[in-house]
Every structure is written in C-alpha cells, then in structure tokens.
Amino acid sequence: MKDNLARRKNRMGWGFFSPSVILISVMVFIPMIYALFTSFMAGPPVNMHWVGLQNYQAMFSDKTFLTAASNTFLYLIVQVPIMLFLAMIISVMLNDNRLKFRGLYRTAIFLPCITSLVSYSLIMKTIFAPTGIANKLLMDVHLIGAPIQWLTDPFWAKVLIIISITWRWTGYNMIFFLSGLQNIDTEIYEAAEIDGASRWKQFTRITIPMLKPIILFTAITSTIGTLQLFDEVNNITKGGPGNATTTLSQYIYNLSYKYTPNFGYATAISFVVVIAIVVLSLIQLKAGGEDK
C-alpha cells in the first residue's frame, strides 16, 4: 500500500517536471551542445568540417576580434561602475522622505528603459549629430569652440555609446537599489545620527554595505548586458568609425549574416563571451559575497 502511494507520487512528480525538462533540453541544452561542436568546425555552412581548435587560435591574431573585445571590455570597465554609482546616488536621493514628487522623479528616471532600443538609439544619434542639439548647447555655453564629431571620431563615438547606455539603463538599476533601500531599517540611520555620523559616512558605512547583495546582483546583470551589447552600437554608429565602437556581439552577427557566413568562428567567439561572463561573475561573487 505504502509502496503504491510512493510510486504514484513518484509518477506524478515525473509527469509534472518532464515537460519542462524535455522542452529546455530541446530548446536550450541540445542547441548549446550542437553549437559547441560547431565551434570546432569551419567551412561553408553546407559543408563544414572538423578543424579542432583552429577557430579559437585564430582569434588571437584577428585584429577585428581583438578590437571588438577591447571595446566591449572598455564599455564594461568604464560604463558599469559609472552607471551603478549613479543609480545608487539617485536611489538614495529618491528614498529621502522629505523629497516631494518622488513618484514623478522615479517614473521619469525609469522611463528610458521602457523606450524601444532602436528608437532611443536613433534619437541619440540625432541629438549628437554634428549640428545636433548637444553640440549646440555645448557651444552656446562656450564649453567647446567647434562641434564635437560624436559619430565620426573614434574617441567621442565611444563616449557617445557610453552616454547612451548609461542613460538607458541607470533607471533600471535604480529600481533594484530603491527596493534594497526600503529593506534597510531606518533605526540604523537614527542610531548613526545620534553617534554623530555625517550623511556621507552614513552612505559609505551603512548604505553601501547593506546594499551589497543588490550591488552584486546589478553588477552581474550589467556585466552580462554589456558583454552582449549590440542594439545601441548597431543603430548609433554601426560599429564605426572603422571598427572603433564595434562589439563582440556585433562581430558575431557580422560573421554569421553580414559576411559570407562563418558559423564555426562565430560560435567559437560566442563561447568565449560565455566563458568571459562566467569568469567575471565568479570573480564578482568571490569579491562581493564572501561573508555569506
């Protein structure tokens, strides 16, 4: 009797989870394994042959890949800290009970991340055109003498990409920080105030340590997002001037669809991106989560 019940329960269990297991295997795991094999192959798509590690070795001498990789990591190193810091500052300001119209500000800052990637990219492109409003403003306040070539100068084009993604994603991360802040007990701040801690000290000694899990989470998701950066670059600069702003994702796309397809090499680069994400996430977990 007991045996029967256990068996029936067992059966029910199988019934419930097997559809999802089968689906995730067919949709995700098998293509992943298939892609891994593809990354060891080369040649025209209908006639690919095994080349071992050749695709992975080729990356080291491929200047376009190295440029794309260094651009991607530059965005990561410069943009993610700026964005997270901004998001944190803004969320602390918005969390202040004395501030009026908080909901309005919150909505305004969150709004960029519900706009379509393509349309905001096109708007950024217009704003930062040589005769666009950004240059006009900067010239009107006499910060610059001649218009900045945001789109055609290799340095400024990178700055423009960083400005764009910061504008788009700061509000998104701010929401996580806001919810994190709401979980911090106000009594801690009261105690700190009585002990004579300044606002800055409260921020660095209480807020940041208490937000650590959120910082870790946003850092990892932002890292993943930045390593997969594609839309903004493709729509604002097309990777140009030259390859000055191109990213790994864009290079993977070009190798698969823009050029005569080289799926082997493209998947090999995809796996390098995956490995980079795993390694960076591990480092962040190690650095940020040790006291757990």
């Binding site: 798509p45 209908v46 492109k125 001037p241 030259g242």
Partner: protein, 434 residues
C-alpha cells in the same frame, strides 16, 4: 517504472528528431519539384525602388502570360541576407522564395557557400545583351546564375550653379582625373564656402569606385587571392582619399541619411556615386535645373577609365523552392530581354538598366529638366558599357571591414605600404574559411 521508460523513450525520440533536423545541412531535403504553375514568390528590398520595378515586370508579364501568379515580399536587405543564409545553411527550403534579389558584391559569396542552391540561367541570360561587368558579377565557373538588374554605373553628380561660382564650366567637369577633382574641391571650398562632397569614414564606396575604374578590386581576378598589399591602384586611390579627407573640402558624416540630408539641403557641390542616387537627388525639387551628371573621375595612372560601378544587384532563382521553369520563364520574358520594361522602370524609379537594348527606348533618349536637359539615361548607360569587369569575390564586405581601420590610420599619416601589408595578413585570415 513503465512511465519512466515511456518518458525516456519520448526524450530519445525528441532528441533524435532534433539531431536529424540539425544535420539536415548535409543531406538534401527532397523538395517538391512538381509544383510547376504554383505562385512564384519574389524577395527584394526597397519598396520605392526594387519592389516597384518588380511590380512593373509582373504587370508586363501578365499581359502576355495571364495565368502565372507572382507574389512580392519586400523586406530590408539585411533581413533577406540573414534569412537566405539561415535557410540555405540549414538545408530547409521551406519558406525560401523562387526568385531573390542579391547585391552584386554578395552573390559570389552565396555561389561559393551554397553551390547547389542556385539555378544556372546561362540559357536565358545572353552575355552580349548586358553591360559586361554586370554579367561577370553573377558568373561563376563559366555559368551565368544572375539576371542583371539595375546598373550601379557611377557618375559625378554636380551642382552647376555652385561650380560656376567656383569658376568651372560644364566642359571643365567632363572626363576629369581625381587629382583634378581634388583641385576643384579646393576652389569650391575657398570660393563658395561649400563642401565638395560628404564622406562617411566607415564607407569605403569611393575607394571601390576608384578601384573598379582601373579593373582592380580587394581580390585578384580569381576572386580568391586577397589583393591589398602592393595593390598600386588601391594605393593611388588612397592617396586621393587621404587628400580629400584631410584638406577640409569634404564634410565627414556618419550614416547614409546624413549624406542625403547634406545633398538635399544644398550643402555640397557634388556627389560621386552610383546612378541609383538620382532619385534621392531629385527629392530636392527646389534644386531642379541645377544638377548635371558627368562621367566619374579616373585615377591618373593605372589604365583607369572614366567609368565605374558601385552597388547594383541581380535576380537569382533558387532551385530548392520548386517551379524553377516558371521562375526562369518569368525572368526570361521580363528582365532578361524586355527593353520596353526597362523603359517603364526608368520612368518609374529612375533605375539605369543593364540591358543594352534599353538605350533606344524613348525614356533613355529623353532630356531631363531636373538635370539641365541632359540625356542622363543615355549618358549613364553609355558609360556603363565601359566599366571594367572585376571579380568581387566572396568576401568584399568582410575585407572592407578589416580595411576600415587601416584606411583611417593611413588618413592620419601611417605608412601606406606597411599598413596595407598588415591589412593583407588580416584579410587573408578573415576570408580563409570561405
């Protein structure tokens, strides 16, 4: 326990089905070739240009051959390229069109990657009926796979009023060299304050125009050997390019639309580009009567001629989609032979035909008030005959992406020979697996 086995069985079957689907690339899918008479599907890009031309073709075909239905699907060129690649690579012909428009620069890549996918059209495309460089673009191994469509013949569009102010008459603009062009650019900028042209540093179309005018390309004529280092034509072209980019006569822009805006707002004096640009220029109706088209400038040495090409495309028939005979018959009676259709297309979209017999048609002999009563179609098609043939190879865009950074380094002053040598190594590695 039974259920476990059952589930395991289902999983194995699902897995097996998937693996066969994945490995479909190698095996031939048995497509239905008995579907003759079925609706033909055509893929092309640009609603106002290629689609319009195809609609004209369908209308003229229907008059003579009532029954055959033809359906056009318009999408962005990038999407066509992507869908074709995924469709052909997976070996799954379902959903692919019967006829597809492919850009000349890309077709060799398709013919190399998918040798069995395209139908040999040698018997409906007569070599001598078309501008020879257009036929060459769609030829591989002596077989002609493409019906040439619009000619990408290049011309120097220029503003007569601005050049007159700078001291140049129409006669001064005919059959000039690029060195002369640079000189004119300086005069135009200093005397009128107008830029000579716009240039997107990421678009090397100008270099392509220069190379083809001397019968040279990123590839040697076999379409396989990368031809960057010690390519004298490219070096001469780069010399001109560097001068234009550094002497302040050219406005640098990013993206296509910025260049169009500059032309339409009257901010530039010339546009050295393909004949298909005509409709864009005519968008600025207030500039009617102020434009003319001169032959594209040539390089000073290198056997360069005052004729070149940029862009342009052709129609191709996919074998796997069935009704090959129907598709061939359609193309044979329209784009491959009908000068009257070319006449209509010239009127509707301003495309210059590749079909030589179009020259005698009324619209080709007409004078156009927008271009100061110049017989522009007549002139463009006449120049098209002189365009040297080159082999675009299978990796034009890939090599060009490799070349973009070296070119901007050269503009900033890097040594041409050593930079091109590096670029050669890079490009060779990039196209190795094709």
């Amino acid at each position: 326990m039974k259920l476990k086995h059952l589930l395991a069985g289902v999983a194995v079957i699902a897995l097996g089905a998937l693996l066969t689907a994945c490995s479909g690339g190698g095996s031939k899918t048995s497509s239905s070739n008995n579907s003759s008479g079925k609706t033909l599907t055509v893929w092309c890009w640009d609603e106002t240009y290629n689609t319009k031309a195809m609609q004209d073709a369908i209308a003229s075909y229907k008059k003579a051959n009532g029954k055959q239905k033809v359906k056009i699907v318009t999408m962005a060129q990038d999407d066509i390229v992507q869908k074709l690649n995924t469709g052909l690579a997976s070996g799954n012909n379902k959903g692919l069109p019967n006829i597809v428009l492919i850009e000349d620069y890309r077709i060799q890549g398709y013919l190399t990657s998918y040798p069995d996918a395209f139908s040999d059209l040698s018997n409906i495309v007569k070599k001598d009926d078309f501008s020879s460089y257009k036929v060459a673009a769609g030829t591989k191994g002596g077989k002609r796979y493409g019906v040439p469509f619009d000619s990408g013949v290049a011309g120097l569009f220029y503003r007569t009023d601005i050049l007159k102010k700078a001291g140049y008459s129409d006669a001064d603009m005919q059959n000039i060299t690029w060195d002369k062009f640079v000189q004119i650019a300086k005069d135009v900028k200093s005397k009128t304050g107008t830029y000579m042209m716009t240039q997107d540093p990421s678009d090397l179309g100008l270099l392509r125009i220069m190379m083809q005018s001397a019968g040279s390309w990123y590839y040697k004529s076999n379409g396989k050997t990368v031809n960057l280092a010690n390519n004298q034509v490219l070096k001469d072209g780069l010399k001109v390019y560097k001068e234009l980019m550094t002497d302040g006569t050219v406005e640098k822009v990013s993206g296509w639309d910025a260049g169009v805006a500059a032309v339409q707002k009257g901010k530039v004096a010339t546009a050295p580009t393909g004949s298909w640009y005509s409709s864009t220029i005519q968008g600025a109706k207030d500039q009617s009567g102020k434009w003319r088209i001169a032959p594209i400038p040539r390089l000073s040495g290198d056997d360069s001629v005052n004729a070149s090409s940029i862009g342009g495309a052709g129609w191709y028939v996919l074998k796997g989609s069935g009704n090959v005979a129907g598709a061939k018959d359609f193309l044979k009676k329209t784009f491959a032979s009908d000068p009257k259709l070319m006449n209509t297309i010239a009127k509707d979209i301003g495309a210059v035909a590749s079909l030589k017999s179009a020259l005698k048609q009324p619209n080709y002999q007409a004078e156009y008030p927008f271009y100061s009563n110049q017989k522009v179609f007549n002139d463009l098609l006449t120049w098209a005959k002189k365009v040297p043939e080159v082999n675009y190879g299978s990796g034009t865009y890939q090599i060009e992406d490799v070349l973009k950074d070296p070119v901007s380094a050269i503009v900033k002053g890097a040594n041409v020979d050593s930079t091109l040598k590096d670029a050669q190594t890079q490009a060779e590695a990039a196209v190795k697996n094709q």
